[in-house]
Amino acid sequence: MKIDLKQYGAILTSRPAGREAALAMKTHVKPAGGEKIELDFDGVVSVGPSWLDEVLSALRQDYGRDRVICLPTKNLSVIESLKVIDI
């Protein structure tokens, strides 16, 4: 299932906002069986590693690393954030 991140704001930077978003996702995101969770950054202006770390950590804790996927994007803030988170 796909999560449309622009629903959480155009600028996604702080840890508190990331934690809040993760809590909201946990409430609404109910993937069936082994279904993957796809994070869609389309329409998001900027993402910071702090926000993304909170969201990815929370989702991976519940569904495992392999089931949480960041969809390809040209947004440089997403690309650079993933470089420091996923090491």
């Binding site: 155009a10 930077t13 840890r15 900027s46 702090s50 770390d53 440089l76 954030s81 420091v84």
Partner: protein, 259 residues
Amino acid sequence: MKTQTRSKILQIIQKSGGTRPSELTRELGISPQAIHRHLRYMVEAGQIEHRGRGPKTRYYIAGAPQLDQALHWCATVANPAESPRENLCETRDVFTARLSHLSALTKTGLKEEELPLVISVAGEIGNNCFDHNLGNWRDVPGCWFETQSTAGRLWICIADRGQGVFRSLNRVDPSIPDEQAALITAFEKTLSGRSPENRGNGLKFVRNIIVADAKRGIACRSGAGLVEYGPLGRDCRIELARYPDPPVGTMTLVLWGLI
């Protein structure tokens, strides 16, 4: 002779951070007409630029930021009532709202594809102010957040009157000896001032972005510590070091080339 005079004018402007023609007349002992002739030539040559009108006109080094107000706030102001509202973000919500104003920078030369990076860099630095000092400010809560675009250069200044980087990190790693070492740790190692929470990658992200391009730089001053990164880091360091008093909290200056 003309070159010598212009060189002296540049030195005076550089040292003062911004000079009125009347001050140059007095200091150099030459006529106002001659000073204005030199200034006009230097503006056309792209060496200096003027801001303000009439008697309030001041001349500055082209492309240099005006940080007097920010440096003064960060180093000396202790009365919250004196804090200028236009640059002060008292809460994280205000700071986040002002981050969205950065979108307007694309009208002053920032490339569309670089806007997400500029916002996330500013966001990480500014959010750090709140993450590490919430409920623990020295006096004025919040952070100073200011941007200036001049002569193809974007300057972003973010400062706080919090505990400083050393106090934050020394709690987690008492082996960090001083303010300089604390700043290096903050930008180069994964150690969070909010351990045991798994944090500490924000400033590494910022450093990665800055060092990746020849037209970027950053300097950060906290107490007696001062670090710089990126090809233009030295320009930032010079600006931060201009004010003699160290900041009571932390002050960061980012330089982003627009051309």
